[in-house]
């Protein structure tokens, strides 16, 4: 008899989903771009050339700066390529922070119950009652601006949703016999949570994590746009949009168009893959939404 593991099952289901595969291809392209940015980028993303500023790109037969230049004469294409490094890193790390916090608190709440559960879940409710970007802005207001602070802020705002999902999974896992057996033979709580509960609540964490990377990239770009995330001259997509915002009144559309397309495409990739993963792992959700 052939053995199908959870991962191979998921992969098979995912391969049949064209939209998810498209998402995966987009993500792989951007990851490739991020890793080999210094090989692919035609020019230095930080090199200024004020005599060559706000020049249109290939549509005006500019072969040197294919997507044109920004107000400091920097090559837009190179900045977007290097920007993929920043946006992807921020997305991954922010979600990782959210997963670490959310999973820890979710498992604690589900495993211990009682007042620990109450305190954690009420705090989660409150965090839910505020828009995530507002919460992130407030956290940045306390921590100070910058890319690293933005990552932490976004990570914290993703923790409640993950905590809620992990808690409910933990509640159902805790009732299984193997957990009761572990408790009965006196296994310390920490070991039970780490060895018996965590591996069994991983799949929703993976799905939600993937779905969240897209929105984390969006939030990071939003903080960058508001001037609270990445600071100039960092080629972060959101900050690039903010830096050149005043140039659009002069009709220099490319400085505001291409970084936005890069954000939208990356987020679209993660959304498509995330939807596919959710369908593959949880067949109950197939065809919904």
């Amino acid at each position: 008899m052939r053995h199908y593991s959870f991962a191979s099952d998921t992969m098979r289901s995912l391969r049949r989903n064209k939209a998810a595969m498209l998402g995966l291809i987009i993500i792989v392209l951007f990851v490739f771009m991020a890793i080999f940015a210094d090989k692919i980028a035609p020019l230095n993303p930080l090199a200024q050339n004020l005599s060559n500023n706000l020049k249109p790109g290939f549509w005006a037969h500019n072969t040197k700066n294919l997507l044109g230049t920004d107000e400091f004469g920097r090559d837009l294409l190179s900045r977007i390529i290097f920007g993929s490094r920043i946006s992807l890193t921020v997305g991954f790390i922010a979600v990782l922070i959210g997963v670490l916090l959310g999973a820890t608190f979710g498992i604690l709440a589900g495993f211990f119950g009682g007042w620990i559960d109450e305190v954690i879940m009420r705090t989660v409710d409150v965090m839910f009652s505020l828009p995530s970007i507002l919460l992130a802005i407030v956290i940045v207001a306390v921590l100070g601006r910058g890319l690293d602070k933005a990552m932490i802020a976004i990570g914290i705002t993703y923790a409640p949703q993950i905590a809620r999902i992990v808690r409910s999974e933990t509640l159902s896992v805790t009732n299984n016999e193997y957990v009761e057996a572990a408790k009965a033979i006196g296994t310390p709580s920490g070991t039970t949570m780490w060895k018996h509960i965590l591996p069994n609540v991983l799949s929703p964490i993976i799905v939600y994590g993937t779905l969240s990377i897209g929105s984390a990239i969006l939030d990071a770009a939003a903080l960058g746009f508001l001037g609270l995330g990445a600071q100039p001259p960092t080629p972060e997509w959101g900050a690039m949009l903010a830096d050149s915002f005043h140039s659009i009144t002069g009709g220099y559309w490319w400085v505001e168009t291409f970084p936005g397309i890069a954000i939208a495409l990356t987020v679209l990739g993660f959304n498509l893959l995330g939807d596919g993963l959710r369908d593959a792992i949880d067949p109950r959700l197939r065809g919904k939404g």
């Binding site: 705090t123 828009p131 507002l134 100070g144 939003a222 949009l241 009144t249 954000i263 495409l265 679209l268």
Partner: protein, 334 residues
């Protein structure tokens, strides 16, 4: 029903209580002396001493919180460091701006999202279905501020059809009464101002309403699909009702519950989006106020705004919950 409303209101108060604790701690977590944080970097020693006395900053933390809460309950969130005005007064002045924008965004979201979702469900797997779902997917993947910038670029700068920012053109004068410009201009029978205010509202409303629109379309589609397979729809068909009547009277009414639930959560999203949309369109609302406050490290203003927004969202969600009972008579709140 009354008990349910009381219970939900108590729950709302609990949430706001916890928000207030978190927001109170926020200032204490900010680096530096809380008195200086609240009075601003350039405050004089006298101002600092007054601040300590007024807010009990030399007392234990719990006592400080009680003092702060007592002030907050009276609507006193302190004075803005930048403008020296009462924070609540400034928020109330800006609230109509944000409300007007959010309302228009929501109207746009429903006007487009609801029909798109219904047609997608009725004509499932048609080109329209695929087309609108792909558009919805793009809608949720796009940064709201970028969409705003693109709208501004196309309709404001290239085509020059609509204004690129603010609430009213400089050459239009309007005496603010309610601060809802559409209402004010109608009260004064100032039609040029009314038309000008509408023109200023169009682009930011579309930008802000697009993500909720995409969500509403997706939820309407899946909710309608669920309902369309129910037995009572088959019964309605078999008794010879026209398809449009089936959709309007039988399907849509039943599909509305999840759509409405989503609209409640949409409001929180809308408030988040408003911060970005207002920044793009220089809209003088609560969103731009928060950003200015954060940039100036104006903590009393940040604190007050967050509690204000949390209160707004909580109230909207309470109304949405109560509205269920009226739409769906099957729901009885115990």
């Amino acid at each position: 029903m009354r008990n349910y409303i009381i219970r939900r209101t108590l729950n709302l108060l609990l949430v706001l209580f916890v928000v207030s604790i978190l927001i109170f701690l926020l200032i204490r977590l900010a680096p530096g002396d809380p008195a200086r944080v609240m009075a601003g970097e350039h405050a004089s020693p006298e101002a600092l001493a007054a601040m300590r006395k007024q807010w009990g900053l030399d007392k234990p933390l719990v006592e400080q919180y009680i003092i702060w809460l007592a002030h907050a309950l009276r609507g006193d969130f302190g004075r803005s460091i930048q403008s020296h005005e009462s924070v609540l007064r400034e928020l109330l002045l800006r609230f109509p701006n944000t409300f007007e924008l959010s309302l228009f965004a929501m109207i746009f979201a429903f006007l487009v999202g609801l029909p798109a979702g219904i047609v997608s469900a009725v004509k499932r797997y048609s080109i329209f279905d695929y087309g609108s779902m792909i558009l919805a997917l793009f809608g949720v993947s796009m940064p709201v501020f970028w969409l705003g910038i693109m709208l501004l670029l196309i309709f404001g700068i290239w085509l020059n059809w609509l204004p690129i920012g603010g609430r009213l053109s400089v050459y239009i004068s309007l005496k603010p009464i309610t601060h809802f410009y559409l209402i004010d201009s109608l009260i004064e029978l100032n039609f040029p101002a009314f038309w000008d205010a509408i023109k200023h509202l169009i682009l930011p409303s579309i930008a802000l309403g697009t993500i909720p629109m995409a969500f509403i379309a997706r939820i309407t589609r899946s909710s309608m699909l669920d309902v369309l397979h129910q037995d009572y729809i088959r019964t309605a068909r078999s008794k010879g009702l026209s398809e449009s009547k089936i959709i309007r009277k039988h399907a849509l009414r039943n599909a509305l519950i999840p759509i409405l639930t989503a609209a409640g959560t949409e409001f929180a999203l809308l408030m988040g989006g408003a911060i970005l949309t207002e920044t793009v369109f220089s809209w003088p609302g609560i969103g731009t106020y928060i950003i200015q406050a954060v940039n100036a490290r104006d903590y009393p203003a940040v604190q007050g705004s967050v509690i204000f927004v949390a209160l707004l969202i909580a109230i909207v969600n309470l109304f949405v919950d109560i509205a269920y009972a009226y739409i769906d008579p099957r729901i009885h709140y115990k």
